[in-house]
Symmetry: C2
Subunit: 431 residues, 2 copies
């Protein structure tokens, strides 16, 4: 922030600082966007590594050995890029801007990542069950997605926040597809239906649909078009056919042994297709952040040149008269609705007040739009917390908790969000 | 943020950074609290200066001349302290933390403050109407209160945010008392009732009550006790008696010429008594901020010593086993509700995960509490904006806009907040 000759910042300095603040935030958002893109790539390879590890363990090390090595190298490369993107954020200098929650999430993800070699070693030695290995990968992916969630929640630009909300929900949906692949692969490998397979697959399909719905509400048109395309992909025919077999199976169903391989390939194809949407989202995010940043820089330059034209306020000038601002905008009305007469040195008074008011007005609009994007994240958070409470205290599975919540809200004719909120508010009465 | 020997921050570094981030935010909140206290003092002297300027102009310069000089010196002193508190915030270095909106508000307040000498000069030369002078002071006070509002809205610690919400609403209520004093003084000076006097006074009384209701919902017990005391002050008897005269007056009412002086003194006494509450709130704010800060520093020290006890993760360690975290907390459940098995190096894995989870849990709780405090500010903002829209587009006074909003919400049996929100949402359809 610049200083006046008197050494004390004046109103124009604060106006400029307010603009500079936006620029700094956008610069960091641009780098945060790059981190999110790296996470998208890393998650994708981890999903592949999880799938291949599963197949490797399931085949007792007979198949997928060399694929696994290739995929691991990909994962390592993306892990390295993730760390580089983290380094570019320079969180050492930007602790406060990053925020405690984001830092904490990053710590969690970095922690699990640091233990990957151990896991891989055990997979290689077949010293771990497929299910346990899957859990670690899933947890790591969730840890990385939690970073994207916080990045979306912390973004102060509404358009960027919207796109991050879309991106988080798409990544979460894609991850659920990955979990569905694992659940189906395990069922086909076992050779028969029954157990939890059918409800679990149905639950995962529904959960994916919910994610894609939120995604649809916030996505940009270009990425949306790629997603529509993705939904027309002929590979979906095989996916849907095999889904039907899984969902209609029971204890007496015997699966053809070749189905496992076909399921795995169909679902892997599906996941790869979905990655195209993420790539499109990533490109859009980059363009959006850069565009916002240069717009903010232009706006600052413009403000600076207007301010240079304003005569500096001179004490003792005696041609003061009352200036009436015709625009009744935010500064006054938010708080009082008071009349807006200014008895100030006329030119400086009027023009500067207008600049301050237009900045104030714009910031308020941004806040309103931001609140909409955050509401989607808030809803997710509340519903997931309510489910977590039900899972812990009533010892339900995630599917059961979700169904209970949905049934209750349908029976009572209320939104799931409201039911979830009250469940949390009254949790102490039950526990 | 510290670095590991490898040069790349690990999970413990991020955990510590998350704690350090809280500390930095609290340090800045402490200084922000000091700015708010300065604003409280400055607003108080500006209210006195406004009142004395009014009386001086009303008496054609015959009375209040020397009082005015004394009060102006007080105001100058508090203006100086305000600038010092601003300087201590070092917004040059902390632009991003301050946020665009706060910077913009400060710019607005600094701008009007910079023009005070001109106004005083005109008051001294009786070259300005009492009403016009009052408007400038009122605008300045509102500009300063807007800074308090943003400070409350930007505070990320829930307890501090609550106290700032209480403080903002109390200051706003006290300012409305000041406006009531001015309105009553003008009526008594005119010698008769009628015009807008009675509804205006009634409106100001109601508006004060609304402010004190919100204040009551967020205040600490000690300041609340001072306020209760303040409500038992015998000076209120005279205030209420004179209020009754004003509220029941009409065009035919002739006021005793001595009432003006008595009203001014009674109301000034009232305002001075109210300042005791602000002093108590200020003291509480100081204690709260310092306490939170030292608690956060202790917690960081504690975390650091726990982390020092943890064996650093060593590659190749082969006694790994699955660690089961019994606490199903936020990190997982918010996003997936997934089971929380950790297949990690046991000690580091378990303890660090627990530290990360407890930090995550705590941050979530803080966010929940914060949302409650912010809801009060949001309500105020929405209702004031709806009133502003009605004032602009239907050319209503603030009282009329308020009454229309209240009547509509009563007739429809809905909250004012909901009606206001829909009014704003549908504003484009009307304008």
């Amino acid at each position: 922030m610049a200083e006046t000759s008197a050494g004390r910042p004046d109103a124009t300095d604060y106006l400029i600082a307010s603009k500079e603040c936006e620029i700094q935030i956008l610069e960091q958002l641009l780098r945060m966007g790059q981190l999110v893109v790296c996470i998208s790539h890393l998650v994708h390879t981890l999903q592949r590594e999880r799938g291949a590890s599963n197949m490797y363990l399931g085949s007792r090390g007979e198949r997928f050995g060399s694929e696994l090595q290739t995929i691991r190298r990909d994962s390592d490369q993306h892990t390295e890029q993730f760390h580089q993107a983290l380094a570019a954020l320079n969180l050492r200098q930007n602790t406060v801007q990053a925020g405690s929650r984001l830092l904490n999430r990053i710590g969690y993800a970095v922690h699990i990542l640091s233990d990957m070699e151990r896991l891989r070693d055990e997979v290689g030695r077949q010293a771990i069950q497929a299910e346990a290995a899957t859990r670690v990968y899933t947890e790591l992916v969730q840890g990385l997605l939690a970073v994207v969630f916080e990045a979306a929640d912390a973004a102060v630009d509404p358009d960027i926040a919207r796109l991050l909300v879309a991106m988080f929900h798409f990544m979460q949906g894609k991850e659920l597809t990955g979990q569905e692949r694992a659940a189906g692969a395990a069922a086909f490998a076992s050779g028969h239906g029954g157990g939890e397979v059918s409800p679990r697959i149905q639950h995962l399909i529904e959960a994916q649909e919910r994610c894609f719905e939120v995604f649809a509400g916030f996505v940009d048109p270009a990425s949306w078009a790629v997603w529509r395309q993705c939904q027309q992909d002929t590979g979906l025919i095989e996916v849907e056919r095999l889904r039907r077999l899984l969902c209609t199976s029971n204890e007496r169903t015997a699966f053809d042994p070749r189905l496992g391989q076909r399921w795995f390939e169909a679902m892997s194809g599906r996941i790869d297709t979905m990655q195209q949407v993420e790539l499109c989202l990533a490109a859009r995010l980059e363009v959006l952040c850069s565009g916002k940043l240069s717009a903010a820089r232009d706006s600052l330059a413009q403000h600076c040149s207007v301010i240079d034209l304003l005569p500096r306020f001179q004490q003792g000038q005696d041609d003061a008269f009352v200036v009436f601002c015709s625009t009744r905008t935010t500064v006054e009305h938010e708080l009082t609705g008071a009349d807006c007469y200014h008895h100030l040195s006329p030119q400086l008074g009027r023009s500067l007040i207008e600049l301050l008011q237009s900045q104030s007005c714009r910031l308020q609009q941004m806040q309103d739009e931001l609140n909409n994007a955050r509401a989607a994240l808030e809803e997710r958070k509340v519903v997931e917390r309510a489910k977590g409470l039900l899972m812990t205290h009533r010892r339900l599975s995630e599917e059961e908790a979700h169904k209970l919540l949905r049934r209750t809200s349908m029976e009572q004719g209320r939104r799931q969000l409201d039911v979830a909120r009250e469940l949390i508010a009254l949790a102490e009465m039950w526990t």
